[in-house]
């Protein structure tokens, strides 16, 4: 694959030396389209060449070069980014509007890769081009502003939004501007957000093309739509589902399906009713409903599972089951798809599965394909008696000549790994194994993916053969095959024979150098998964490679690399400790939160290798990260604070407790829960006033509306060791109340917590506690019964004499 790419690229580079400008322009375009298929060692040469051509006299060559510079964004070496941006800025002043347009499109593609020193300059230039004398250039400039949203200086954001809102009133610019506005919504204050949403809604009332795009855009904005306008947006979109223009109607139905997260609770039934009506052949007695609208409504119902009222679920399922017999293949196909997305009541599971299985034999491949997608998501719902037959049917479809049937059939087998009967395992593995050699886009790749999924069911006798095959396929590399192979090795970690771990590690190291980031990313992940399977003499090489990948230009690769460093903490040689920690701290400041999050996680995992001299820096950084603007980063940082418990110096503990208590007030439930868990983790270090403040706060939070918060509080209270005398009664009383919670997991946690509080429970309350635990041993939930019984065992020492026999009988 690599050789083929290199040969193709060499031919293209040769064509750039032709005398015919059309051929040169075409070669430049093709180079841009290659993107990350360009071998790593040729990237600089390619970018230099395109830069050189962008200075040519021929207009088409300049135009194509500008575009290619944008397309090559991700493969442009760091030291070439500045000259690329400078050149594009020059081209944005070209006398020809076509070149100006293409340079603006390219600048929009560069995004974060624009060097810091140039960012303001770029934004100012793009903004200026929104006033260009050609409307086309203005349109492309507005789109670029949307793409560059994250680098627009805070102070300029309102100005940009105002400009775009003004432009959205000009006829020729409405369409490009509205998608840009929806993109900017992420980075602006909420009053401006409302203004944008209101404008988008106005645009849904314009002519068909604008209206359709606006509806789609509203759906994309989704949960970023401010709460204050959610109702009016829902009402307006609902109204549009009755529009006489068929295309507007369909776009509105699609939008409703995607907006379910913002639909006010009291409107949910109305929406589902409307969608149900739209699945029919007639919207009213006189008004025929087009097939495409019906199909959209069916899919929208599938997307709206979370808002379907319980009392409507049965009707919906029955209706969909009927629609599986519709004459129109689009309807059958959408129905098959939606049935796979809906939560099915146990009473209808058999019928739904029966119909989906029937649709796998449909004469139309679209329907077969949708049915295969759906059956893959049914998993354990498939009745035991039917499993063998269904697996056999899917297996048969992996021989279908149509890739659109064959590939989903392969994926379905991978997804259904846990229900494949023992007697079919060998046949399935053998088939997937043979398919991995097949040619054709994505066939081999999907088979390799399925091998990774099937790891636990691969019969012992075939494991070696499978790994050997993967090693051979790994040699090919590239997106189609190298990527799934790299991922499969990570998943197969427990079935790789010890004798082959060296070859597997070697293969992953090679794949982690692939020119395609889509291969490097899973390779970085799998190296971390191998952990102790990595031969000792290769530890250093693996870690060095992960450090190199931490510097990759693609965020996803850096993210997996730093995550793996965390997982491999146990094999890091002492002399590499400093370097690993240093690199992790650098990535904890990455511009992309997708990298900061695993970096925050890795910091906690690397606790045992943090050099004494770096402890303070690490702790300060992880504390800063608990204030990150992205909740995903905050959450991981909080987890890591808990893990770093032992190295937190006493003088810092107070600061951390204050921070954690503050975070328990966070609006995001996940952060609330993460901070409670961290308080639990550091519970044994709490003393005096800090301890009191934490206990009081946990009691307060245990009244929360959300069961996860109540459960976390119960568990946290159970871990606190130094509860002051004056609070002991309050704590135990609260836990006794939580033992009566409506939610089983809260009762379970409270029962467990009480079991660990032998030193906390006041003698005067022992009887009450034991009584409560005895009653919980009759709970309808088995986990609660089990936890109560275990706690009684742990509290044996405080059981009042009069209750000893009863307790003995239970435990």
């Amino acid at each position: 694959m690599k050789g083929k790419n290199q040969k193709y690229l060499n031919e293209l580079l040769k064509e750039t030396k032709e005398s015919d400008s059309l051929e040169i322009a075409d070669a430049v375009r093709k180079i841009g389209e290659l993107k990350d298929r360009i071998p790593l060692n040729m990237r600089k040469e390619v970018v230099v060449k395109v830069l050189e051509l962008s200075e040519g006299k021929d207009l088409m060559v300049r135009l194509s070069s500008a575009l290619s510079l944008g397309q090559l964004n991700d493969v442009t070496p760091k030291d070439m980014r500045l000259p690329v941006v400078k050149r594009l800025l020059e081209l944005s002043k070209d006398a020809e509007w076509g070149v100006r347009s293409h340079s603006i499109i390219a600048l929009g593609e560069l995004g974060y890769n624009i060097p810091y020193s140039m960012r303001v300059k770029v934004i100012k230039r793009v903004f200026k081009l929104t006033e260009d004398n050609k409307d086309e250039v203005r349109g492309f400039a507005s789109v670029a502003l949307g793409k560059l949203k994250h680098i627009i200086p805070r102070a300029m954001r309102s100005k940009v939004v105002k400009k775009l809102l003004d432009m959205s009133r000009e006829d020729d610019l409405k369409r490009p501007v509205l998608e840009s506005l929806s993109s900017l919504i992420e980075v602006i204050p909420s009053d401006r957000k409302t203004e944008i949403v209101e404008r988008l809604m106005e645009l849904t009332k314009e002519g068909a093309w604008i209206s359709i795009t606006a509806s789609g855009t509203i759906a994309d904005v989704g949960k970023k739509i401010p709460i204050s306008v959610r109702r009016s947006v829902t009402e307006d979109v609902l109204k549009l589902t009755g529009d006489c223009d068929e295309n507007i109607k369909i776009a509105a139905i699609d939008a409703l399906g995607n907006l379910n997260i913002i639909i006010p609770v009291d409107m949910q039934k109305q929406i589902i009713d409307r969608l149900m009506l739209l699945t029919g052949k007639y919207e009213t007695a006189q008004k025929l409903n087009p097939g495409e609208a019906r199909a959209s409504a069916i899919k929208a119902i599938g997307n709206s599972d979370t808002i379907i009222p319980d009392d409507m679920r049965e009707d919906i399922i029955l209706k969909l089951l009927n629609l599986t017999y519709d004459k129109n293949r689009i309807i059958r196909s959408s129905t098959a798809e939606s049935l796979g997305s809906l939560k099915i009541d146990i009473a209808y599971t058999d019928r739904v599965i029966e119909q989906i299985t029937r649709l796998m034999d449909d004469p139309d491949w679209h329907v077969k394909s949708s049915a295969l997608h759906s059956i893959g998501s049914m998993g354990s719902l498939i009745p035991k008696d039917n499993r063998k037959e269904i697996v056999a049917k899917i297996l048969k479809l992996t021989y279908d000549k149509n890739y659109n049937v064959k590939i989903p059939a392969t994926f379905a087998l991978g997804k259904l790994k846990n229900i494949i009967p023992r007697s079919s395992r060998e046949e399935v593995t053998r088939r997937i194994f043979n398919m991995s050699d097949e040619d054709g886009l994505n066939v081999g790749g999907s088979a390799v993916w399925a091998i990774g999924e099937l790891c636990e069911v691969i019969p012992g006798g075939m494991r070696k053969k499978v790994v050997v095959k993967l090693l051979r396929l790994g040699e090919i590399g590239g997106w189609a095959v190298g990527r799934p192979v790299a991922k499969a090795f990570g998943k197969l970690k427990n079935v790789i024979p010890r004798s082959m771990s060296k070859e597997v590690t070697d293969s992953l190291l090679k794949l982690s150098c692939d020119s395609d980031w889509g291969v490097r990313r899973p390779a970085a992940w799998s190296l971390g998964e191998l952990q102790l399977s990595i031969p000792k003499d290769m530890n250093r090489e693996v870690l060095q490679q992960l450090l190199v990948l931490c510097d990759d230009y693609v965020s996803g690769v850096r993210a997996r690399a730093v995550l793996s460093l965390g997982k491999l903490a146990a094999i890091i040689p002492e002399d590499m400790n400093e370097e690993v920690i240093k690199r992790t701290l650098v990535l904890s400041r990455d511009f992309d939160w997708l990298v900061r999050r695993p970096a925050a996680d890795a910091i906690g995992n690397l606790k045992n290798i943090i050099p004494k001299s770096a402890e303070k820096d690490v702790l300060n950084r992880i504390l800063e990260m608990s204030d990150d603007r992205e909740w995903g980063v905050k959450q991981k940082a909080l987890n890591s604070i808990g893990r770093l418990n032992e190295i937190i110096p006493g003088d810092m503990m107070k600061k951390i407790i204050v921070k954690l208590l503050k975070l328990t007030e966070d609006a995001n439930e996940i952060i609330k829960v993460a901070s409670i868990r961290t308080l639990r983790d550091i519970g044994n270090r709490l003393t005096g006033d800090e301890n009191n403040a934490v206990v009081e706060r946990l009691i307060e939070l245990s009244f929360d509306f959300d069961w996860i918060v109540r459960r976390s509080c119960a568990l946290a209270i159970g871990e606190l060791k130094n509860i002051r005398e004056n609070l002991k009664t309050d704590v135990v009383e609260r836990l006794l109340c939580l033992c009566d919670d409506n939610d089983w997991s809260v009762r379970d946690a409270s029962a467990r917590a009480l079991g660990g509080m032998v030193k906390v429970i006041p003698r005067s309350m022992a009887k009450e506690v034991i009584d409560k635990l005895i009653s919980l041993t009759d709970d309808f939930d088995p986990s609660v019964r089990d936890s109560a019984s275990r706690s009684l065992t742990r509290l044996k020492g405080i059981v009042p004499k009069t209750m000893k026999d009863t307790v003995k009988g239970i435990i």
């Binding site: 993107k35 076509g98 086309e136 490009p176 093309w209 789609g216 689009i330 679209h366 890739y403 659109n404």
Partner: protein, 183 residues
């Protein structure tokens, strides 16, 4: 040679009014489009070639080089105007590839101009259109185009580059086309 045979094999079952989605890798993209065109022209079909990736002059040159007749093809060129070229009377130009309404209008009138019972349209390519247009606009354009071709019984070859089209657009195209060919 291998690619040519593969295209021939795939097109064996493609009927005159079939809508085919060509899902191509960057390396095979141009050759696969040219070979598909050769087959359509070879069957005596006439059609409209909508290009946003390459100027029609270049396409004509390439077709001549490859021995593909160009007299039955009407070009709708959405890129040359941006480079200041719109002087060829045999071609219809659109000034800006983001003028989807204008492009739709021209497609209709060019298809009407073809005096053959067997018509086809090549859309080269959706991935390039996505450089100039947002995802939602392209979704609507795709639906408009496919419905139009179906209503008029015109066969279509819609081209996308693997990994250069958002999944939801790709899913719409796959769902609405009769065949998908992966090369």
């Amino acid at each position: 040679m291998e690619l040519k045979k593969q295209i021939e094999k795939e097109f064996e079952t493609v009927q005159e009014d079939t809508l085919t989605l060509l899902n191509l890798t960057a390396e095979n993209y141009f050759d696969a489009v040219m070979e598909s065109l050769r087959l359509m022209v070879g069957r005596g079909e006439k059609g409209v070639y909508v290009t946003v990736s390459r100027p029609h002059k270049y396409l004509r040159m390439e077709m001549r080089k490859r021995g593909i007749r160009t007299d039955g093809i009407l070009f709708l060129d959405c890129i040359s105007s941006m480079a200041g070229e719109r002087d060829d009377m045999t071609c219809t130009y659109v000034e800006n590839p983001s003028s989807l309404e204008e492009i739709s209008m021209h497609i209709g009138s060019l298809l009407d101009k073809i005096d053959s019972g067997k018509k086809f349209l090549i859309m080269d390519s959706f991935s390039t259109f996505l450089i100039y247009n947002g995802k939602n606009s392209m979704k609507e354009f795709a639906m408009f185009l496919i419905n139009k071709l179906r209503l008029e019984g015109v066969g279509g070859i819609l081209v996308i580059l693997e990994r250069e089209a958002p999944d939801d657009l790709k899913q719409i195209l796959i769902a609405m086309c009769d065949r998908v060919i992966y090369i």
